[in-house]
C-alpha cells in the first residue's frame, strides 16, 4: 500500500493541476487509457511548472470545464476525497493492513489529536475488527453513492433531454427547471460566499459545496504533497541488509554443489593467464618510473668529445631583436604615414620590411593582445625543423679597401698630356699608320687612296703617293738598314721605297729589290699570287713591286729581318688566308693547308721563328722551323681585332671588338694575364 501511495500521489497531484481530482482507483479502472494518460501527464508536468501559483477559485472553474471534457464519473470526486482507504477492490484484498493504516490515519485526523505510533500498535488488535465491518460499509456505500445510473458516458448526450439520467429506482433525474445563465452565475459569484468551493456535478446536475477538509486535500494535492496529512515522507529507512551479521540465514536453501567444487571456467581462465605470462604476452605491472620529470645535474660530467660529432650542425639563428618601431609607444617618426601604410597593405607579406604596422597606445593599459603571437611562434618552430640551414659568410669589408691602390697619375709622368702636333692632309679616313725604325718618319694610309709620308717631329708631309684605292694597312720595314714600306691596297700589296734615308740604306734596299731575278718554275702559289714590277707613273712615285693577291688584303706585316712579309686575306671558306712573301727571292707561300677559322691578324715573333695568327677567338702560335703549332692563346673576348707582340717577344696584347684588351704573358699561361676594359 505504501508503495502504491508513493507512486500514485504525485501523479494525482499532476492531474490536480488540470483540475481533475482522480483517485488511484479510477485510474486502475482506466487501464486502457493509461498510456495516453501518461503522455498527457508529461504535458501536464510542464503545464504545472508554468502555472505554479494557482488560486483555488480559478481552479474550481477549470474543474467544471474539464469535467465536461473528460466526463469523469461522480465517484471520482467522492472516492478520492472521502478516504484513501476506499481504493480499488483488488488493492484492498491484497493489502488489508495497508488500508488499515490509512483508516487509522483517517481516524487520527478526525480526532485531531497527536497519536504516537506506540499507541497505535497497542490498539491495533481492537481496531482491526471494527475496521473489517467498516470495510463492508464502504463497499456498499460505494454503490449507494451512485445516484445516477447512466454510467461513464459524455453528459452532452443528455443535452436535449429534460433529465440527466436515472436513479437506482429507474426514475428520471430531472434537470433543474431553470438553467443558470451567465447572469445568474455572476450574481451567485458575487453573493454566495461559498461559491469558490462549489463544484457543479453534471451527473446529478447539482452543486456540491466542498467541505473544509476536502479543500485542504485539494490544496495539498496541488502542492504536490501526499493526500494524507499524517503520512510521513521521511521515515527512517529500515535496512534490510545491514552490516550486522545475523545469526540466521536469510534463506533456508541448502548450498549449491558448485560452491564446493572448483570452477572449470575459472581454471581455464587462470591457465590462460599463466600461459600468457609465461610467453611474455602479459608483462608484470611496470614499476612507476619516478625519475621521469625529475631534473638532475645533467652536465655534471661535461666532455667535449661529443662535440666532434656535430661538426655539420649549425645552430639556428636567433630571432632578430626588436627595434624602436615595435614599441607600444614608439617615437612619432616611426609611425607609418598613410602612403606607407597603403604600400604596406599592398605588398606581399614576404616583401614587407616590417611584418607588422607600428602602433601607438597612450598607456600600457590599452595595449591589446598581439593576434599573431601564436602564429609567429609556430612559424619559428617550422623554421627550426623544416628550413635548411646554410652558413652565409657575411662580408665585413670596408668598401674603401676594395678599391685598388693605383699609382697617382702624377707619379706616372712624363706622358703626353697635351696635343702638340696634328698631321693634316688626308681627306679620307686614316686606316693605318706606321713609324720607321729610326723614328724619324711616319707613314699613313687612308681611304682617300693616298699614302703619305710625314716627318714625325715637324708634322711635315714629305711625300704623297697615290695608290688608286683605299689603303687597308701600311707597315714600315723594321730593318733599319732597309727603307721600304708595304702597303695593302685592295687585293694587292705594294712595296714602296720612300727614299727617305741615307744613301747606304737606299742602296741596300735597292739591291734587295733588284737581286732576285731568276725565274723559278711556277708553283701553285705563284699562280695565285703574282709578283710584278711597276713602271711609269707608279715607279716614279716610288712603288717598286706589286704583289697581286686573289682577294682583298686586309693586313700586311714585316718580319723583323725585313726580308719576309705576311699578308692576310680573311675568308671563311678557303685555306688561302695568309701568305708569306720573301722579298729577296720574290716568292710567296701559303703556310697553312687547312682553314682554322677566320684569320683576323698575323704577326711575326721579333726574335724567334714564331708566327702569331689571331683568329676570331684565339691566337695560335706556330713554329716556322718545325712547322707546327706550339701554343694556342685563349683571349676571353668575342672577336679579336688586332694583335701586337712586345719587342722582347714575351708579351702579347690582343685588342677585340667588344672593348677588351687581353694581355698574355707567354711564359705564364695561355690564358690572359690581365683583361683590360
Amino acid at each position: 500500500m505504501m508503495v502504491s501511495l508513493k507512486t500514485c500521489f504525485p501523479r494525482g497531484s499532476m492531474e490536480a493541476s488540470r483540475g481533475n481530482v482522480q483517485s488511484a482507483e479510477q485510474r486502475a479502472g482506466m487501464k486502457k487509457t493509461k498510456k495516453t494518460d501518461k503522455k498527457r501527464s508529461k504535458q501536464d508536468e510542464e503545464d504545472e511548472e508554468e502555472d505554479q501559483p494557482f488560486d483555488l477559485n480559478s481552479k474550481a472553474m477549470e474543474e467544471d470545464e474539464d469535467d465536461d471534457d473528460l466526463s469523469d464519473s461522480e465517484d471520482s470526486v467522492y472516492s478520492g476525497l472521502e478516504d484513501s482507504g476506499s481504493d480499488s477492490e483488488k488493492e484492498e484484498e491484497e493489502e488489508e493492513g495497508g488500508s488499515d493504516d490509512a483508516d487509522e490515519d483517517e481516524q487520527d485526523q478526525s480526532e485531531q489529536s497527536p497519536v504516537k505510533e506506540s499507541k497505535k500498535k497497542e490498539g491495533a488488535g481492537e481496531e482491526k475488527e471494527m475496521k473489517k465491518e467498516d470495510e463492508y460499509d464502504h463497499d456498499t456505500s460505494d454503490e449507494e453513492d451512485i445516484r445516477n445510473t447512466v454510467g461513464n458516458i459524455p453528459m452532452e448526450w443528455y443535452k436535449d433531454f429534460p433529465h440527466v439520467g436515472y436513479n437506482l429506482d429507474g426514475k428520471k433525474i430531472y434537470k433543474p427547471i431553470r438553467n443558470k445563465d451567465e447572469l445568474d452565475d455572476f450574481l451567485e459569484k458575487m453573493e454566495n460566499p461559498d461559491y469558490w468551493k462549489t463544484v457543479h456535478d453534471k451527473k446529478t446536475s447539482s452543486d456540491i459545496v466542498l467541505s473544509d477538509e476536502q479543500i485542504e486535500l485539494v490544496n495539498r494535492l496541488q502542492r504536490g504533497q501526499f493526500g494524507d496529512v499524517n503520512f510521513n515522507e521521511y521515515e527512517p529507512t529500515v535496512e534490510f541488509f545491514s552490516k550486522d551479521v545475523l545469526i540466521h540465514p536469510v534463506t533456508n536453501r541448502p548450498a549449491d554443489k558448485r560452491s564446493f567444487i572448483p570452477s572449470l571456467i575459472e581454471k581455464e581462465k587462470v591457465s590462460k593467464l599463466v600461459h600468457a605470462i609465461k610467453m611474455g604476452w602479459i608483462k608484470p605491472r611496470r614499476v612507476e618510473d619516478d625519475s621521469r620529470g625529475r631534473f638532475y645535474d645533467l652536465w655534471a660530467s661535461e666532455n667535449s668529445s661529443i662535440l666532434a660529432k656535430h661538426k655539420m650542425h649549425l645552430p639556428a639563428p636567433k630571432i632578430p631583436l626588436p627595434g624602436h618601431e615595435e614599441s607600444y609607444n614608439p617615437p612619432p617618426e616611426y609611425m607609418f604615414t598613410d602612403e606607407e601604410k597603403a604600400l604596406w597593405e599592398q605588398q606581399d607579406p614576404s616583401d614587407r620590411r616590417l611584418p607588422f604596422v607600428p602602433k601607438k597606445y597612450p598607456s600600457l593599459r590599452q595595449v591589446p593582445a598581439f593576434s599573431q603571437f601564436i602564429h609567429e611562434r609556430f612559424e619559428r618552430c617550422l623554421d627550426l625543423y623544416l628550413c635548411p640551414r646554410q652558413r652565409k659568410m657575411r662580408v665585413n669589408v670596408n668598401p674603401e679597401d676594395l678599391i685598388p691602390k693605383l699609382p697617382k697619375p702624377k707619379d706616372l709622368q712624363p706622358f703626353p698630356t697635351t696635343q702638340s702636333l696634328v698631321y693634316r692632309g688626308h681627306s679620307g679616313l686614316v686606316r693605318s699608320i706606321s713609324v720607321s725604325p729610326s723614328g724619324q718618319w711616319l707613314v699613313s694610309g687612308s681611304d682617300d687612296g693616298s699614302v703619305r709620308l710625314w716627318e714625325v717631329c715637324s708634322s711635315r708631309c714629305m711625300k704623297t703617293v697615290q695608290v688608286g684605292g683605299a689603303v687597308k694597312s701600311v707597315a714600315w720595314n723594321p730593318n733599319p738598314s732597309l727603307c721600304l714600306v708595304a702597303v695593302a691596297v685592295d687585293s694587292a700589296v705594294l712595296i714602296l721605297s720612300p727614299a727617305l734615308a741615307d744613301k747606304q740604306v737606299l742602296l741596300s734596299s735597292e739591291r734587295l729589290l733588284t737581286t732576285q731575278q731568276e725565274e723559278e718554275e711556277p708553283s701553285e702559289e705563284s699562280q695565285t699570287v703574282v709578283w710584278s714590277e711597276t713602271d711609269g707613273e707608279e715607279l716614279n712615285q716610288g712603288i717598286r713591286l706589286k704583289i697581286q693577291h686573289p682577294k682583298a688584303v686586309h693586313q700586311v706585316t714585316w718580319h723583323s729581318k725585313g726580308d719576309y712579309l705576311a699578308s692576310v686575306m680573311p675568308d671563311h671558306s678557303s685555306h688561302l688566308q695568309v701568305f708569306i712573301h720573301q722579298l729577296s727571292r720574290r716568292r710567296s707561300q701559303n703556310p697553312f693547308r687547312r682553314n682554322k677559322g677566320l684569320v683576323q691578324a698575323v704577326s711575326f715573333h721579333p726574335i724567334r721563328p714564331y708566327f702569331f695568327v689571331a683568329t676570331q677567338r684565339s691566337v695560335r702560335i706556330y713554329n716556322l722551323v718545325k712547322q707546327e703549332m706550339t701554343k694556342k692563346l685563349q683571349a676571353n673576348s668575342k672577336w679579336i681585332s688586332s694583335i701586337a707582340v712586345h719587342s722582347g717577344g714575351d708579351h702579347v696584347i690582343c685588342g677585340s671588338y667588344d672593348c677588351r684588351l687581353s694581355w698574355f704573358d707567354l711564359d705564364l699561361s695561355t690564358k690572359p694575364y690581365k683583361m683590360l676594359r
Partner: protein, 580 residues
C-alpha cells in the same frame, strides 16, 4: 680503352643526401613520427649545392636530409619507443573494440613512455651550449604557460611550463641577471645575462589567446616537450650554481609570513605553493644559508698601455653594471590592480626594489596601500581618488625606462595623465650615421650627468626659433623682390636692344676663379673613379652592393629625421594655436 663504365649517381653528392620519403622508409616511421623525431633530435634538411645531381637528374622539388643525419637517427632509442607506442595504440583499440576492460586497464598501466634526458645531453654537450639555445625554449614555455587549460594541449604541459617559467624568473631575480626590458606591441621582451650569455625572451601580454586554426599544435607540443626538459635541467643547474634549493622553496621566514596570511584562501597546499612562488615577492631558500655574498671584484693584474685602457674601460663598465643592478634599491613600490603585476614585480625585484600589491589581486602581497613608507605607486589610470602626499604616482613605463636607461629618470614625465615620452627599444645600438631619436639623445645626456634643459628654456628657444623663422621668411621675401627687379631690368634691356635691332652683342668675359680646394676634391674624385674602373668584376659587385646599402641607410635616416621634424612642427603649430 677499358675499365668499367662508371654508373651515374653512385658516388659523390648523390650519395650524401637522402630524400625525406626515403629517410622515413629507412627509419620505418610514419610521417608524424618522423617529424617528431626530427624536432626532438634537431635534424633539419639540407640544401645540396647541385640539386639536380642529388635528385638524380630530376628537378622535382624535394627535401633532402644528410644521409649521415639519418644514419645517426637509426640508433636512437626513441625510435623504438615510437614503434612501441604505435603497437600500444593498436592493442588498446583492439581491447576497446572487444570491450575487454581488464585488458584496457592492463595496457594502460604499461603505456610506453620515453625520456628526453639523453637527447638534451646529446644536443647540448655543455651547459653553455644549452644556455645559448635556451631562448626559444623560454619563449615557448612562456607562451604555453599562458594557455587556457582547454583542449589545445595537455594540462600537465601547461602546468609544467608555468612551473618552469616561474623557476626561471625566480632565478633571474635572485641572480639579478636582468639587463633590458622592452614593452612591444607583441609582448614584453626581457634580456638577461646568465653566465655571460645574453638571453632574450618574449612574454605575451596576459590575455586569453585567440587560437588560430591554421596552426599545428602537435608540432608546438613536441617542441614544448623538448623545451620543458631542457629548461628543467638548465634551471636545476642554475639553482645549483647559486646554492639554491631545487625545486625552489621559499625562504622559511617569508614562508611563515605568507602562511599566516593566506592559509584559509587556498584549499590545496601544493597548489598555493606555486602561486606563492609565482608571486615573485619572497626570497628563496638556500642550501647553505649564507649571508650576503661578497661582491666579486675584478682581479688586478699589472698591465700596460692599451691593455690598461681596456682594463679601465672594463672596470668602468663593471661599476656601471653594479649600479644598474641596484637602481631600485631602497625604493618601495605599490602596484595598482590595473597594471600587469607579474611583469612589474619581476622587474622591480630584479633591481633590488620592494614591491607589493592589493591582497585581492594575488597572493603574496607584503604590505598595504596605506603603508607610509611606499615611495612609488604605479598607476595606469588618468587619476586616483585618494593620493598620499609622500609618494610618487607614476605610470608603469617609468620602471621600464629606468631599467633601460640604467638610471632613475625624472618622474615628472611619467605622472598620471601626462602624455608619456616614447618608449624606446633598448636593443637598438646606433652606429655612426644611423638615425638617433631625440629622446634617446636626451637619455644619453642624462646618463652623462648633464642636467636636462628646463622647460622654460625650451620654450624660449622655441620662440627664438620662431622669430628666426620669421626673419628668414622676410629675407626670402627680400630676395624674391630683388630677383623680380632684376628680371624687370633684363626685360627692359631686351626690349631696348630689340628696338635697336642690334644682333651683335659683346659680353664681358668672366673671371674663372679657381678654387684650389675644390680642384683638389675633384681630382680625388676623378682618381677614385679611375680606381673603381680598374676594380675586378667580383669586387666591383660587392662594392656596389655595399655602397647601395650605405646610401639606403642614409636615405632612411634622412627620411626619419624629416618625418620627425614635420611632426614636431605640426605639434608646435598646434600649441601655438591653442595658446592663441
Amino acid at each position: 680503352m677499358g675499365g668499367l663504365q662508371k654508373k651515374k649517381y653512385e658516388r659523390g653528392s648523390a650519395t650524401n643526401y637522402i630524400t625525406r620519403n626515403r629517410a622515413r622508409k629507412k627509419l620505418m616511421l610514419s610521417l608524424p613520427d618522423f617529424r617528431r623525431l626530427c624536432i626532438l633530435k634537431g635534424i633539419y634538411p639540407h640544401e645540396p649545392k647541385h640539386k639536380k645531381k642529388v635528385n638524380k637528374g630530376s628537378t622535382a622539388p624535394r627535401t633532402f636530409y644528410l644521409l649521415k643525419d639519418i644514419r645517426f637517427l637509426l640508433h636512437e632509442p626513441i625510435v623504438s619507443k615510437f614503434r612501441e607506442y604505435k603497437i600500444f595504440v593498436r592493442k588498446l583499440k583492439r581491447a576497446y573494440g572487444k570491450t575487454e576492460w581488464s585488458a584496457v586497464e592492463r595496457l594502460k598501466e604499461n603505456k610506453p613512455a620515453y625520456k628526453l634526458d639523453h637527447i638534451v645531453k646529446e644536443r647540448y654537450p655543455t651547459f653553455i651550449d644549452a644556455l645559448r639555445d635556451i631562448e626559444d625554449a623560454l619563449c615557448m614555455c612562456f607562451l604555453f604557460s599562458t594557455f587556457a587549460r582547454t583542449g589545445k594541449c595537455h594540462v600537465q604541459t601547461i602546468q609544467l611550463c608555468r612551473r618552469l617559467t616561474v623557476e626561471w624568473m625566480n632565478y633571474v631575480i635572485v641572480s639579478r641577471a636582468l639587463r633590458k626590458v622592452f614593452l612591444s606591441i607583441k609582448g614584453i621582451y626581457y634580456q638577461a645575462e646568465v653566465m655571460g650569455q645574453l638571453i632574450t625572451w618574449l612574454v605575451p601580454y596576459q590575455f586569453s589567446h585567440d587560437h588560430p586554426t591554421d596552426v599545428d599544435y602537435r608540432v608546438m607540443a613536441t617542441f614544448t616537450e623538448l623545451y620543458t626538459t631542457l629548461l628543467g635541467f638548465v634551471n636545476f643547474r642554475l639553482y645549483q650554481s647559486l646554492n639554491l634549493v631545487y625545486p625552489p622553496k621559499l625562504d622559511s621566514k617569508s614562508e611563515l609570513e605568507l602562511k599566516e596570511e593566506n592559509e584559509d584562501n587556498y584549499a590545496m597546499n601544493s597548489e598555493s605553493y606555486l602561486e606563492k612562488l609565482s608571486a615573485l615577492s619572497s626570497s628563496l631558500a638556500r642550501v647553505v644559508s649564507s649571508e650576503e655574498e661578497e661582491e666579486a671584484k675584478l682581479d688586478q693584474f699589472p698591465v700596460e698601455g692599451e691593455d690598461m685602457e681596456k682594463m679601465e674601460a672594463r672596470e668602468k663598465e663593471q661599476k656601471l653594471l653594479e649600479t644598474q643592478k641596484k637602481i631600485f634599491e631602497g625604493l618601495k613600490f605599490f602596484v595598482n590592480r590595473e597594471v600587469p603585476r607579474e611583469s612589474l614585480a619581476f622587474v622591480v625585484r630584479c633591481f633590488g626594489g620592494q614591491v607589493s600589491w592589493d591582497k585581492s589581486v594575488c597572493i603574496g602581497s607584503t604590505y598595504d596601500v596605506t603603508d607610509e613608507t611606499i615611495t612609488h605607486q604605479i598607476v595606469d589610470r588618468p587619476n586616483v581618488d585618494r593620493q598620499y602626499i609622500n609618494r610618487y604616482y607614476i605610470q608603469p613605463q617609468w620602471v621600464y625606462d629606468c631599467v633601460n636607461a640604467k638610471i632613475l629618470l625624472p618622474v615628472e614625465d611619467y605622472f598620471l595623465g601626462v602624455t608619456l615620452p616614447p618608449h624606446l627599444s633598448p636593443f637598438v645600438e646606433e652606429k655612426e650615421g644611423d638615425y638617433v631619436p631625440p629622446e634617446k639623445l636626451k637619455i644619453m645626456a642624462l646618463q652623462r650627468g648633464e642636467k636636462p634643459a628646463q622647460q622654460d628654456e625650451e620654450e624660449e628657444e622655441e620662440e627664438e626659433e620662431e622669430e628666426e623663422d620669421e626673419d628668414e621668411e622676410e629675407e626670402e621675401n627680400e630676395e624674391e623682390e630683388e630677383e623680380a627687379e632684376e628680371k624687370n631690368l633684363k626685360k627692359m634691356e631686351e626690349q631696348r636692344s630689340q628696338g635697336k635691332s642690334l644682333q651683335v652683342k659683346v659680353t664681358p668675359g668672366k673671371v674663372k676663379a679657381e678654387n684650389p680646394a675644390r680642384l683638389e676634391l675633384e681630382e680625388k674624385a676623378e682618381e677614385k673613379r679611375l680606381a673603381i674602373m680598374m676594380m675586378k668584376k667580383k669586387e666591383k659587385y660587392l662594392y656596389d652592393k655595399i655602397m647601395f646599402g650605405k646610401k639606403r641607410k642614409v636615405r632612411e635616416a634622412n627620411k626619419l629625421a624629416a618625418k620627425r621634424k614635420a611632426h614636431d612642427d605640426a605639434e608646435k603649430a598646434k600649441k601655438k594655436k591653442s595658446r592663441k
